[in-house]
C-alpha cells in the first residue's frame, strides 16, 4: 500500500506539519502541500519550548532561529486589571532536590519563602536579566526556552526544510473532492486534480475546509488551529501540530483499518485537547477573570491545588511548575497544608535562590523580579 497525503495550508502550521511528516515518514508515500488563502500575516509568532525537538529532527540550527527572533523564556500576560503576569518556562528549584511545590508552599505559609520567581532562572530571564558566562551549571540545566520569531522568515526556513525533504507544492487550492463523507482528493486553482488517501486541513482555520474538531474521520484530518483554536497567549496550536504529525505517523493507515486507527487517533487527541484546553483557560483567566469560560479539568485542578497544593499529574502540555505559577497567580492558595518545610528544605531552597541570583545579571530596572 502506498500512501498519498495532501496537506492544505500556507502558513507556519502547514509547513511545520509537512516537514515533520516528511522527516518521520522517511520517504514512505508522498506528501504534497497545497496552498490556500494568504500566508500568515506579517509579524511575530511564538513557539513553545517543545519546538526544539522538531528543529533537531529537521536539522534546523539554533543559530538560524536566533537570527530571526529572540528566546522566549516564558509567557507574558497583560492583565485587564493592569500589570503583567509572567509564567516562566523551566523548573523552579533544584530538580535534584525535594519536590519544589510542597516545600515552597509550606515555607510561604510560614512566611519564610522568597517570591516564586526567585527560584527560577527562567523567571529572571523573562524579566530581562542576562545569564552570566560563569552561571551555575545546575541552574542552567533548568532553563527551558521557546522562541518569538519573525513569521515570514520562519515560514521560509520551514519551507526550505520541507523542500529539502522532498515535499512538493501544488497550485493553490480550489476545492475538496468528495465521495459521500470521504475526501478523495483536491481540485486546484489551475484545474488539476490531486488524488489523496488522506486530506489534511492545516489551513489554520482560514478556509474552513473541513468540519471543525474532527481530528481524523474517514479520510479527513484537521490539525493545529484548523482542528481547535486556542485564544490564550501560549502557542498550543504549534504544540498540537508537533504531536499531530507524530500521532499520524504512529497510526499510519493500513489496508481497511482507517476506522479503528482514526478512533484511536481521536482518543489520544481528546486527552491532549483536555489538557491544552484547561491550560488555555487558566491563562485566559489571568488576562481577565470575568472572561474565563468554565472548564471541567481546570475546575478539578483548581480544587486539588486549593485543597492540598496538588498539581496536575495527568498528561500535560506543561511541567507542573507552569501550573504552580498559573494557579498561584490566579490567587489560589492551598487551605490544607500540613506542617512546615523541614529546616533542610528551607536551607536547600534558600541556597537555590542564591545560586539563581549568582547566575544572572540583573539590570537596575528589573529588580522588581527579586522583590527588592
Amino acid at each position: 500500500m502506498t500512501l498519498s497525503i495532501a496537506v492544505i495550508g500556507s502558513g507556519v502550521e502547514a509547513w511545520l506539519y509537512v516537514s515533520l511528516l516528511a522527516r518521520l515518514l522517511r520517504g514512505y508515500g508522498s506528501v504534497i502541500l497545497v496552498p490556500v488563502g494568504p500566508a500568515d500575516a506579517v509579524g511575530m509568532i511564538a513557539l513553545p519550548p517543545s519546538i526544539e525537538v522538531a528543529h533537531r529532527l529537521l536539522g534546523i540550527a539554533p543559530s538560524d532561529i536566533a537570527a530571526i527572533g529572540q528566546p522566549r523564556h516564558g509567557i507574558r500576560i497583560a492583565r485587564s486589571i493592569g500589570g503583567e503576569a509572567r509564567i516562566p518556562y523551566g523548573a523552579y528549584g533544584n530538580p535534584q532536590g525535594k519536590p519544589f511545590a510542597g516545600q515552597w508552599l509550606r515555607l510561604r505559609a510560614a512566611g519564610k519563602a522568597a517570591p516564586l520567581a526567585a527560584y527560577s532562572v527562567n523567571a529572571a530571564l523573562l524579566a530581562g536579566a542576562a545569564l552570566r558566562r560563569d552561571a551555575d551549571v545546575e541552574v542552567v540545566r533548568t532553563i527551558s526556552t521557546g522562541w518569538q520569531v519573525d513569521t515570514v522568515r520562519y515560514r521560509t526556513i520551514l519551507a526550505t526544510s520541507a523542500r529539502r525533504l522532498g515535499i512538493a507544492q501544488g497550485a493553490p487550492f480550489a476545492a475538496v473532492e468528495r465521495e459521500g463523507e470521504r475526501a478523495t482528493g483536491l481540485r486546484l486553482a489551475d484545474g488539476d486534480r490531486i488524488a489523496a488517501d488522506l486530506v489534511v486541513d492545516a489551513s489554520e482555520g482560514t478556509a474552513a475546509l473541513l468540519d471543525p474538531s474532527i481530528g481524523w474521520r474517514n479520510t479527513c484530518v484537521a490539525v493545529g488551529s484548523a482542528d481547535q483554536r486556542f485564544d490564550g497567549p501560549e502557542p498550543f496550536a504549534i504544540a498540537a501540530i508537533l504531536s499531530a504529525a507524530a500521532r499520524l505517523v504512529n497510526l499510519l493507515p493500513r489496508p481497511g483499518s482507517i476506522p479503528v486507527l482514526s478512533a484511536e487517533y481521536r482518543r489520544l487527541l481528546d486527552v491532549e485537547r483536555t489538557a491544552m484546553t484547561a491550560a488555555d483557560a487558566a491563562l485566559r483567566r489571568l488576562v481577565d477573570r470575568s472572561c474565563a469560560l468554565p472548564d471541567a479539568a481546570l475546575a478539578r485542578f483548581d480544587a486539588l491545588y486549593g485543597a492540598a497544593g496538588l498539581l496536575p499529574d495527568d498528561p500535560q502540555p506543561w511541567l507542573p511548575d507552569q501550573w504552580l505559577s498559573c494557579l498561584d497567580m490566579a490567587g489560589l492558595s492551598p487551605t490544607h497544608l500540613d506542617g512546615e518545610a523541614s529546616p533542610a528544605a528551607e536551607r536547600e531552597l534558600a541556597d537555590w535562590v542564591a545560586r539563581v541570583a549568582r547566575s544572572v545579571i540583573v539590570r537596575a530596572n528589573e529588580l522588581e523580579f527579586r522583590g527588592e
Binding site: 500500500m1 500512501l3 518521520l24 515518514l25 522517511r26 520517504g27 514512505y28 505517523v249 504512529n250 497510526l251 499510519l252 493507515p253 493500513r254 489496508p255 481497511g256 483499518s257 479503528v260 486507527l261 478512533a263 484511536e264 482518543r267 478539578r300 480544587a303 486539588l304 486549593g306 485543597a307 492540598a308 496538588l310 498528561p315 487551605t335 490544607h336 497544608l337 500540613d338 506542617g339 512546615e340
Partner: protein, 511 residues
C-alpha cells in the same frame, strides 16, 4: 482501660483540623501495609496509628502472588528484601504461565519485561509480525526464557541494557508477609489492638465516623478511619453504605476453593494459571509448599465439581482442609467517604488472575498518601481518590476480561465469556490490535504495552497488518538483529542459577 494515644473518650470526630489519630480496622496485608505506610509517612500532627484486628477472623490470603510494583512499596517502606523472603517463605516470580486458555492444550507466558527495544522507532512487535515470528514472541523476552528453564537472577547492570530490562515480584505467604509488616509497623509506632469491632458510631449530622466499639466494650475514636476489613467492608459498606458497582456480568467467576499442598523438587519462578471447565486453577510455589486455588463461576459449575478439579490437580498431599471463598467482582462507588477510606477487599475485588489484589492495595495507599487530608476533609481530595481508584480497577478489569474474551475453549462458560458484550474501551483495544498491531494503553499507571502484547499474542491473535514503516528496514538486517537479541537472552539465562538455588542462598539457608 485502653491506652492508645488516640482518643477513646467518644469525643466527636473532627471535620476540620489536623489529623491526629488514624484507626485502621482489619489486619492482613491491606491493614498492615497501610499501617506501616502511614507510620512511615508520619504526617506532622499525627499522634497515633491504631490497627484493630480480630484474632478470630482469618484473612483471605488469595494475594499470595504479587506484581513487581510491590518491590517499590517495600523499598519505600524501608523493608529488608532478604528478611521478607525469609520470613514469608517467599520465592521469586518472573511472570505468569497460562495453560489451556487457547483451548489447544498449549501455554503462553506473561513475563515481567519487554520484548526488546524499539526497532527504527517502532515497537518490536511490528517486525516480529512481519517476519512471521508472532508465535515465538516469548523467545524475545528474557523473563520468559528464564522461567522456561527454572532459572532466576535479579536484574542488574546499567539501565537500558538487557540484563536490566526486566523485573520480578514475589510469591509469598500473605499471612506471614502481614506478620512481618506487623512487626515492622509496631516498631515504627503503630498500636496493635486485638478485638472484634461490633459497632461503628457515625455522627448523624456530619456523617463522619466517630469511633468503633469492640465486643469487650472498648471504644476507639479517631480522626481518619481506614477500612481494611476485607469483604465485610464494616465501615465503608456497613456503616456508611457506600454503594457497590457490580461487575459480575463481565467477570462472573464468584467462588474459589483454596488449599496448600506439599511441593516437589524444583520451584518454578512463576505463577501458573490453568484454564478449567468453568474458571481456572492457580499454582503458586512457595519455599516449602504450593498454594493452590480453583476459581470458578458457580452458575456453571457446582462446588463439589470445582473442588474435585482442584484436588485432582494437586502435586502433593494437602496441608489443610480446602476453604471456600465467595466474592463478587466490582468496587465501591466511593472508596473514600467522609473520614473513611477503603483499602483492599473492602474497596473492591477483581479475581486474582493477574495477581492484582496487593497491587491495588499499593495503589490505594499511594493515592491516599499523595492526597492525605492532613488538616481536614476536603471533598476534592476524596473525589480525586475515587476517580483514580475507579480508573485503576477499570483498567485491570479490562485486562482480565481480555484473557477470557480471546479464549477458544468449547465449554459453555468459555463460550459465554467469548461471546458476551465487553466494555467499549476493551473492544476498541482488541480491534485496534487485530487490524493494525497497535496496542492502546488507556491507563498509563497500569499494565503496559508488553503485558498486553503477552496476552494478545499469547492467546493466538496475529494482527492482520503491521506498521507500514516496518518495511523500510531490510528484512535480513532485522532478522539478524532479532536473532542476536535471542542469543544474548540465552547467554544471560544460561549464567543464572536455578531458582531454588537462588532462593536458598538469598534466604540465608545456604546453597
Amino acid at each position: 482501660m485502653f491506652s492508645a494515644h488516640g482518643r477513646h473518650d467518644g469525643a466527636p470526630a473532627m471535620t476540620q483540623g489536623s489529623i491526629k489519630s488514624i484507626v485502621i480496622v482489619g489486619g492482613g496485608a491491606a491493614g498492615w501495609m497501610t499501617a506501616l505506610a502511614l507510620s512511615r509517612m508520619a504526617p506532622p500532627a499525627l499522634r497515633s496509628v491504631v490497627l484493630v484486628e480480630s484474632p478470630e477472623i482469618g484473612t483471605i490470603g488469595v494475594g499470595e502472588a504479587t506484581l513487581p510494583t510491590i518491590r517499590s512499596f517495600n523499598a519505600w517502606a524501608g523493608l529488608d528484601e532478604a528478611a521478607i523472603v525469609r520470613d514469608s517463605h517467599a520465592t521469586f516470580k518472573l511472570g505468569i504461565e497460562f495453560r489451556g486458555w487457547r483451548g489447544d492444550g498449549g501455554a503462553f507466558f506473561h513475563g515481567f519485561g519487554d520484548y526488546g527495544p524499539d526497532i527504527a522507532g517502532l515497537a518490536p512487535y511490528h517486525q516480529i509480525v512481519r517476519l512471521g515470528l508472532a508465535g515465538s514472541l516469548g523467545d524475545f523476552s528474557l523473563p520468559t526464557v528464564a522461567a522456561r528453564v527454572g532459572r532466576f537472577a535479579p536484574p542488574a547492570g546499567r539501565e537500558g541494557t538487557l540484563a536490566a530490562s526486566y523485573s520480578y515480584a514475589y510469591h509469598f505467604d500473605a499471612g506471614l508477609y502481614a506478620a512481618h509488616l506487623r512487626e515492622v509497623a509496631i516498631a515504627a509506632g503503630t498500636l496493635h489492638v486485638q478485638g472484634r469491632v461490633d459497632h461503628v458510631a457515625v455522627n448523624g449530622e456530619s456523617g463522619l465516623i466517630e469511633n468503633v466499639r469492640l465486643d469487650d466494650g472498648r471504644t476507639i475514636a479517631g480522626d481518619l478511619f481506614i477500612d481494611c476489613s476485607g469483604f465485610r467492608a464494616l465501615l465503608i459498606g456497613g456503616a456508611l453504605g457506600a454503594a457497590f458497582e457490580d461487575w459480575s456480568h463481565w467477570l462472573p467467576t464468584d467462588r474459589a476453593w483454596v488449599v496448600p499442598c506439599a511441593g516437589g523438587g524444583e520451584i518454578t519462578p512463576f505463577t501458573r494459571a490453568t484454564a478449567t471447565t468453568a474458571g481456572w486453577r492457580w499454582r503458586i510455589p512457595l519455599q516449602h509448599r504450593i498454594g493452590n486455588g480453583q476459581v470458578y463461576a458457580s452458575g456453571f459449575q457446582d462446588d463439589e465439581a470445582a473442588l474435585s478439579n482442584l484436588l485432582a490437580g494437586l502435586e502433593g498431599a494437602p496441608f489443610a482442609e480446602p476453604r471456600l471463598l465467595r466474592f463478587r467482582a466490582g468496587h465501591r462507588r466511593r472508596f473514600w467517604s467522609g473520614n473513611c477510606v477503603a483499602i483492599g477487599l473492602s474497596g473492591g475485588f477483581l479475581e486474582p488472575l493477574e495477581s492484582t489484589s496487593i497491587h491495588l492495595i499499593e495503589r490505594g495507599i499511594g493515592f491516599l498518601i499523595e492526597r492525605f487530608p492532613s488538616t481536614g476533609f476536603d471533598p476534592a481530595l476524596a473525589r480525586d481518590y475515587d476517580r483514580l481508584m475507579t480508573q485503576a480497577f477499570a483498567s485491570i478489569r479490562d485486562f482480565i476480561i481480555l484473557h477470557y474474551r480471546l479464549n477458544r475453549r468449547t465449554e459453555p462458560f468459555w463460550r459465554m465469556m467469548r461471546d458476551q458484550p465487553i466494555p467499549d474501551a476493551l473492544a476498541h483495544q482488541i480491534e485496534l490490535f487485530v487490524e493494525t498491531g497497535e496496542i492502546a494503553i488507556n491507563d498509563p499507571r497500569s499494565f503496559a504495552a508488553p503485558s498486553w502484547a503477552a496476552i494478545l499474542f499469547g492467546m493466538g491473535l496475529v494482527p492482520r497488518h503491521y506498521h507500514p514503516l516496518a518495511d523500510r528496514e531490510p528484512r535480513e538486517a532485522v532478522a539478524a538483529h532479532l536473532g542476536r537479541g535471542c542469543r544474548m537472552i540465552a547467554d544471560l539465562v544460561a549464567a543464572m542459577p536455578s531458582h531454588r538455588r537462588f532462593v536458598s542462598r538469598f534466604a540465608g539457608e545456604g546453597a
